[in-house]
Symmetry: C2
Subunit: 404 residues, 2 copies
């Protein structure tokens, strides 16, 4: 078998992952590789059992073309979603379909015990036989909060302050682990299966306990120097706003429009300023606003206006074609979408208006797991050792089975 | 000669352009292609005269390695800089070194005559012999203002409103033309020869008649869906600021911190509110501020504070490692740099502070031409027909010379 370039394999596998079913001709178009390279690489992948023929297409002139797909059993990923109110574990096949789930609720703000983490991974992997376990390729972790360069995480919901997550996970599992912010993993999920399918210039915005975003430019995720890009919640949206942010400053978007801050403002306006605030209570503020409660409407007005303004600033900077809104906003499309659209129409420069769409996130509870698995897949492609494993794991198992 | 993949050539030529002198081993590292592919592509490029041996390196163990460089005569580019106060034309060699320049002053706001454009291109090309003219590959144009999708430009300094620039240029020259905003071309120039050398996460900010920026993420220029990204001047930096912007809104950064608006505020504060404002007068406001003129200091304070705030917002969104300041700010490093640094220190999240640097643009008058040529080079690599021309023009000429 002639040598096949890693770069070809990487691009071809990415196209197969994205399209699920495709043909050689489509791969040539999408990767811009030449026909010979694609054919050679596909032969290699078929031989190793990573790609399979899923059918044949016959064209009008009678030529047969193979329809190709990834072998869903060519490898597995562990996906972890450290989201607001529960921690979820999933096992996905090679294509990112979630096969098994295991979850545990989080007591907000109480220190989340890493031993539960070990239990979750164990419970997830227990679904695989010994032979399949060898084909677990990597783990993807979706986190909210802040991770520093040493892998220490600060996340209010989990009660973690500089918690050495990466170090702990290294001691728990012998797998390559890839981390992505909640916004990034959700963007990957939306782009792959949801509202952002086929979009190369898109932004995912999460509004929950915090506010964050992740963006793509020409299909490349915008991560920044330290992988810390997307801190939409901490742009100063109004220098004269009195709202104090968790970060210590005033005027941050998050201090006005995050779920706990919406609740806080509602309590303040209704004389309950001393009540303890929880992000989940935002659902009730939404309900009150729908009933016409003046205080609730006023708070939603303000949050929606500043959110729209922040997204307009973002759009003027990045010129995306799509903004997907997620987090608690999915429970209040009726309240926020019109307010946000109004600010965008008013503030995004005319030349970018025509191509800008805003949609609500459409993926349900699995979005974090799907995104974490997608992150793990794409990250694995970029690691030469893992790419090699992807292209050999299945063949090796077949061989060992035959020799038994 | 075996077939060489276009994708290899593209990446190898980009590395050679960036490093000027390099070795096969360095190209392998930088492109992540395998050794055989690089050797094959280099043989191809040497054969076609696009790459030359510039020397030999001998290692400690006695192995000889060729030092390689691009043949500076393998092709030429026309570069055009439609900057504020004059229009400049340049002819560059294959490496982007400006060989000939021709310029014409602009009467601010008076409609710039496209016939002068034709004259400039002609004057530039007149420096080449007939044979060399065949090797002119493309034209790069650096513009300020706004270009729509049909190539119509609105630029106050040139007196153009929806002026069909692309169409006019198509009728004037039979060359592929690539357009980039002033910020983008300057970013390319700084990254290639100036303050941003070697940086993959950098931003260039221009403050002049308008305010704009261009960014790179992992070495990819952030252009957005319509190539319109980077409208830093039109982010709403203070919703309650009364300053009215050219775009019709209030609160835009540009309405507070662009050169004409700095002048306007100074005039207003000193009872000269009805005087006509020109961007160039900002130099005098800078001088007054240095002399301690209270009104000038106050205006600079305000502009610097908002600029810093806008750059902090940008940094929190994009997590760059470097911000390069250009335009009229290069005349006021002493006034603006401390104010901007203070706002960045106060407002950029701690996790991104350590890796963030701010520098002044260091390239002089040629920056626009150098950037336009760099844009043309990189854009040409992406066009299959031009890549083919790059790889054949010089060889064809050599052959035709030999057969004479």
């Amino acid at each position: 078998m002639p040598r096949v370039s890693e770069a070809w394999l990487r691009r071809i596998l990415a196209v197969l992952y994205e399209r699920r079913h495709t043909t050689r001709a489509e791969i040539v178009r999408a990767t811009r590789l030449n026909v010979a390279s694609v054919s050679q690489a596909i032969r290699h992948l078929l031989h190793h059992g990573v790609v399979q023929r899923s059918g044949q297409l016959r064209s009008a002139v009678g030529r047969k073309r193979d329809e190709l797909k990834l072998n869903s059993e060519a490898g597995y990923f562990v996906a972890v979603d450290l989201e607001g109110t529960r921690v979820r574990f999933g096992l996905t096949n090679f294509l990112g379909d979630v096969r098994y789930r295991w979850e545990v609720p989080v007591a907000f703000g109480r220190r989340f015990d890493i031993r539960i983490f070990a239990k979750g991974i164990e419970a997830t992997l227990a679904n695989l036989g010994a032979r399949e376990r060898c084909r677990v390729l990597a783990m993807g972790v979706s986190y909210s909060g802040i991770m520093d360069r040493e892998g220490r995480v600060t996340a209010v919901n989990l009660g973690w302050a500089d918690f050495p997550l990466a170090e702990k996970i290294r001691s728990l599992v012998d797998l390559p682990v890839f981390y992505g912010t909640e916004s990034l993993t959700k963007l990957l999920a939306e782009r792959w299966l949801g509202a952002a399918r086929g979009s190369n210039h898109c932004v995912f915005v999460t509004v929950a306990n915090g506010i964050g975003c992740a963006s793509m430019n020409e299909g490349h995720a915008l991560l920044g120097r330290d992988g810390a890009a997307g801190e939409l919640g901490h742009i100063i949206i109004d220098p004269s706003a009195p709202d104090r942010c968790n970060c210590g400053r005033t005027g941050c978007l998050e201090a006005i429009a995050s779920s706990p801050n919406i609740v806080r403002q509602y309590f303040e306006k209704t004389g309950q300023g001393r009540k303890r605030v929880f992000g989940e209570q935002v659902i009730e503020v939404f309900a009150r606003a729908r009933e016409g409660d003046a205080a609730a409407v006023e708070v939603i007005d303000r949050a929606g206006r500043y959110l729209g303004l922040a997204l307009a600033n973002l759009a003027n900077l990045l010129n995306p074609e799509l903004i997907v809104l997620g987090g608690d906003l999915v429970h209040a499309e009726d309240l926020f979408l019109p307010r946000i659209r109004k600010e965008l129409a008013r503030n995004v420069l005319p030349k970018m208006q025509a191509s800008l769409e805003v949609k609500m996130s459409s993926l349900g509870l699995d979005i974090g797991l799907v995104g974490a698995a997608s992150l793990a897949f794409h990250s694995a492609l970029r690691e030469p050792a893992l790419l090699k494993k992807i292209c050999s794991a299945y063949l090796e198992e077949l061989r060992s089975r035959q020799s038994e």
